[in-house]
Every structure is written in structure tokens, then in C-alpha cells.
Amino acid sequence: MTFSGDSGTLGALADLGEADEAEARTPRQRGKRFGRRRRREIGLAYLLILPSLLIFGIFVFYPFFRNFYLGFYKTPPFPGLPTRYVGFDQYSNVLTSQDFVDSLKTTVGFALLTVPAGIILGLLLAVLANQQLRGVGIYRTIFSSTIATSVAVAAVIFGTLFNPVVGLLPWIGIDPKPPILDNPNLALFGVAIITIWQTLGITFILMSSGLQSIPDELHEAAQIDGAGPVRRFWRITLPLLSPTIFFAVVVGSIFAFQTFGQIDILTQGGPIKRTNVLTYFIYKTLRQDSNDGKAAVLAIALFAITFVLTLIQMRVLEKRVHYGR
């Protein structure tokens, strides 16, 4: 280290560098300088994280705690009227209500409908497009094209396809009564199909990049040992792709739990609340019922679920990532 231990940022930086060297010194030497250095180190650390902490504080932490706190209050339908402190009562009432349980079931059902199907389809397309063929790039472009479609556009396109009067599906004979999106038993499937289609692009890209990171030598070695394409897929591709698949499952689930656009455009949570997923429930509670307190509780519940999903991802993924080369 060439800097002397002066005050100021540069000095602190220098000290930070010396801190590494300190590890190599004897305990006695270290003990002598430890207190002062440690303090400087902490000061610098604060300084460095301050900007991001400020931004996170204003836009993430403050709203989050404020939201959590709002859940303790029974709020009036219009601002300016009295609010009443009800503490955890609101949390327990809302989270045990039939509406919430139904909405949670719908949301989980929606995730189960969309995530596995989306990943299987994405993987299938990725495996197909991973062949070294002339013109395969065109297919890759087509398969990944839905990534460039907005939810609103996808919803309108499918809404038209499903329409009982002018739609394509009724025209080819798929014409349930009442029509798909007005049908309590089918509406969730209808919205799920749109979501699968819409997320297919990103899943395809994820899976393709996963496939390309698998070393060719493995396949070649297996081929020499006499393994056929199906066997190689199950024994080599799939295990090595597992981190990617797992990542897609977790991220896909988080997205599924945050689905809003297609519901708002096509079904508004209906019919009979059969597509009333958590995000839409929150939106409706907030906008139609003007019930800020209840909406805050629901938002915290949604946060808790996505938080757990993220934790799982971090824990499991850390152990499972395959560093191919």
C-alpha cells in the first residue's frame, strides 16, 4: 500500500487495503490498531452504501413499512375521514376470510396451470431449436417473439379469439356455453392460456441459453458410449439444465403471483370471482371498495408469498448451480 493512513476517503480506502494485510499479522499487532481501523472501515462502509440505501429507503423500505403499518388501521372510503386503530385484528380477519382463502387458491391454481405447462413447452421448443439446421434462426426468432408482446396486446388478441360472436375458437367448433371467459368453470383456463403463450418467449430464451451452456463433450462422450438422443436428453440435458429449470420455476411462479393485466382486461376477477387472483383482489379492494387498510394487509400477504419463493430460490439455487466450464 502506497497511501499513508490519512483521514478522508483515500485514506480510508488505503486502510481498507491494509485490513487484508492485517489478517496476516500476529494477533498482538492486530489488536493494537484494530479499534481505529475498524471504525474507519465502518464509516466508509456507511458512506458507500448510503446512496443505494437512500434510494431503497425512500422507494422500497419506507413504503413497505408504511404499508405494513397501514394494515393496523381500519381506513375510511375517502381521505380525510377518521381512521381507527384495530391492530392485528385486521390482519387476522382479512387473512382468514373466505375471500382471501378463495383468492389464494385461485392464485395457486393459476400458477400451477401456467408455470409447469409454460416450462415444458418452452423446453420443448428450445430443444427443437437447438439443432444445427439451416434456417433455425428464423424459428428461434418466432419462438422468442412473444417476449416483445405486451400483456395488453396478448389479452386483446386472445379475447378476440375467444369471442363467441367473431372469435376463431367458436368458429372451429370450440364454443362452450357460456363462452370461455364468461364461464366460471373455464375462465381461469382461458386466462392461463394467454399467460402461457405470453411467457413462452422468455422461457424459450432461458431454456435455450441453458442448453447452450451444456458442454458438447458430454454429449459426444455419451454418443460414443452408445446413448441415443432420448437417453441423452434424460441423462445429460435434463440434469444439467436443472438449475435453469428451477430458476424458471421460481421466477415464473413469482410472475404468476403478480399477474394482473390479462385479468383486468378480460375477466375483472369474474365470473363469480373465479379469476380473482391476489393482485386483482388487492386492486379491487383498493380502487372499488376504497379500502386502503384491507388492501395493505393483502399486499403484505402477497409480499410474504413472493418473499418465501425468493428465499427458496436463493437457498436451493446456490447449492444446485452447475458450473459447466
Partner: protein, 467 residues
Amino acid sequence: MTRSLRVLAIGVVGALALAACGGGGSSSGGGGSNASALPACPLSALAKATKPVEVTFWHALTRANEEVLQSLTDRFNASQADVKVKLVNQIGYKENLEKFRAGLGGTDLPDVIQVEDTATQQMIDTQAILPAASCIKADHYDTSDYVQRVLDRYTVNKVLWPMPFNVSNPVFFYDKNAFRAAGLDPEKPPTTLDEVKADALKIKAAGYEAGFGLKLDPWYLEQWSAKADKLYVNQENGRKARATETAFDNATGLSIFSWMNDMVKSGAAKTNSADGPSSYDNLLGIRSKNVGMTIDSSATLGTITQVFSQGESGGVDLGVSPMPGPPGKGGVLVGGGALYIVKKSAPEKQAAVWKYLKFLDDPQTQADFAAGTGYVPIRKSSVALPAIQQLWAKTPGYKVAYDQLISGVENIATQGPVIGAYQAVRDAVLAGEQEMFTQGKAPAAALSTTANQSNSAMQEYNSRVNG
């Protein structure tokens, strides 16, 4: 590093908690809706103010209706130099109310706002409204020429809250040719629900997909309850005190639910959603000869007449008649929108708005507005004016909507319900109907579920207003 982060995080949380506690206080509530304690209407403020006083009007009219409103407003602005009205289109009633609510917590508010008839209780609960009754009293304004039911619709606890403006109600649409094909008298449309069912089955038997296009609009349960002279919610339809429970879970309600169920199950009726792209399928069904009749708002008359007259007639001979309903001496409810004066505006702006509202409700303005939009004129003297006479001669359907409004008794049943959680009750009614149609639920069970869901929504709303 981890420890220092944690220390800092605790500090931040502590500060936030303190800040949050500071913001927790709130103003005292309990604004009375009592006739004796009306806030004052600052009429004299306009004379003292520097002219012109500019006021902003958030409205929810679109297309042709918006153009008519704009031209009437231009006429008002040109007719005098004291007040200048600026229109802001908020696209729909829902959006308008949402934006108003957001504005109540900040500063972005209009001076006058157009709100749907269902939101009366909510507007009262904002405590941000100057009742029209205040200005009527201060200005000695004569309301005897108004259609009584229109005034009644917006009167809660003897106080008229908004100025009524655009009024519509449901009418019966039918294809006379479908009636002829089914061997029915085209000049004798059904007047009761039972007749609708009998005629619908005959039309279906004549080769139509269904006889009746049933739009799944919870509005009709409210309308049919009023027509049967039955209350929709307790506390005198919510006009004496805040309604706490529904009143439609009775014999009339059951007969309506059973009728709808029979209609759908027998194939006599074909349903369509009241929201989204299929909300006009019942009317378009008449045009494409899938169904022979339907019920819809009189506000659609203009568009429907226009669409049906484009190109070939398609063999449709459109008839319009009063809405059939259950037996009873009641009448149709007033639907549509009304205009609220915002109390948070400066006094001269409130007075300026009052002047503008008097213009909009003037018999001549109302006649021109009705002729241009298809809404029902709310002044009795408007009807004699040439604009309305010409309109009625050309499209007799418009007269049906007006005549409905002045027939039947005037009482709390035909005043209609006032509910804080109006939309939540409508959602419950729609869900109940759909459970009956698609899940095989019995009408009585569906009705009682609907009532229970509505009650809890109403009580939830009330508990939040009462603090």
C-alpha cells in the same frame, strides 16, 4: 459489514416508525346530512370576484354526448362574461370517482363533477360536497318544474345533494318481425315478466336461437324491485339512515330470480355480460336475428337506432316499449349521472358552478341535451319544446323512456336505494345470478347467498365510514 448494515437498518426502521406514527392522526368525522344544518351556498361571492371566474368540470360523457355537452358549454361561456367553464373528460364514471377520491387526499380537484346515480352515498361520505339544496334555498330557485322522481332519486334525508343532469332508464327493445314470425301481435309487446317468458318461448319456437337477450346487469334487479313497489335495502332504502341490510330477499326477489333461472334453463333467454366487449350482444342479437327482444338502457337508443338504420334493415323492425316487470304499482328508477358542487373550491367558484348548473338544467338546455344525446329531459316544460317534439316524432322510443319516468307511484321504493357499497352489492347480485345459471344453484339459495354477501359488504363499508 453485515452487523453495521443491521445497525443501520434498525435505525432506519425506527425513524420510519416514528414518522409513520406522526402521520397517523386524522380529522374528526361525522358530517350531518340534516336539512337544518346545511352548509351555506356562497352566492354573493361571484359578484365580488374578479371576472371571469374559471371553473373546471370533470365529466364522464364520451363521443356524441361529449360533443353536445361541449357545444352547450360553449353556448354558456359565450352568453355571459362572469363564468368560464372548462370541461375535462375523465372517460367514465368509475374513473371520474376514482380520480376525485385521489384528489381529496391532495389538491387536484374539480369545481364540479359528474357522478353516477349509484355513488350518491359515497359522494355524501366524502364530506367535500356542497349540497345543491343549499344553493336552491339561498337562490330561491324553483324546482317545481323538475320531474319529481329525478329529484327524489338524489334526495337523501330530505337534502337534494347533486343537481340532476343526464337521466336514463331501462326500456324494452323488440323486433316486430320476430313477433310476426312467432304469431304474436307486434303492437302488443309484453308488459309482465310472465308474458316475456311466454313470448320468448314462442319466438324461440319460430327458429330463433333464443327469444330474449338477457344482459347480466344487476341494475335490473333494482329496477324490477322498484317496479314491484318493493324496497331494495332497509332504512327506507337507505334514505332515513344508512342502510345496513338488503331487503330484496323476499317473495318478489325470489320470483325475479326464479324467472331469470327459468328463462336461462329453458333456453328462452340467452345471456351476455354487462361489462366488456360482449356488453351489447343482447342488442346486436336483435340485429342479427338471434334473439327477438331484450331490455337495455334508454341511453343506448341513439346508437341502436343509428346502427339498425345503417345499410340494409336486415329485416328488423325495431319496437320500443316500457320495461316489463313484476306486478305492482311502482315504476322505473332514475339512472344516469348527476352533478356535484365541490365544497373545497373557493366561494366564488362554488357560486360560478351554481350559475352553470342552473343553465344546464334550464328547460331549453335540457331539451337540446336530450335531443342530442338520447337522455331523458328532466324538466316537464322541456317536453313541449320543438327540439323534444321533433325527436319524439322521429324516434318514438325516447318518449317511452320519459313516460316511464312519470308513471307509477312516487315513494321510497321508486326513489331507489342509497347504498355506500353499491358496486359491491351489484357484484354480489351478479355472482348470485351466475351461480344459479352455471353452477345449478337453486334460486332461493342463490338469493340468500346474494343477500348475505351484500349485507357483509354494506356493513364493512359502514364500519369504515363511522370510524
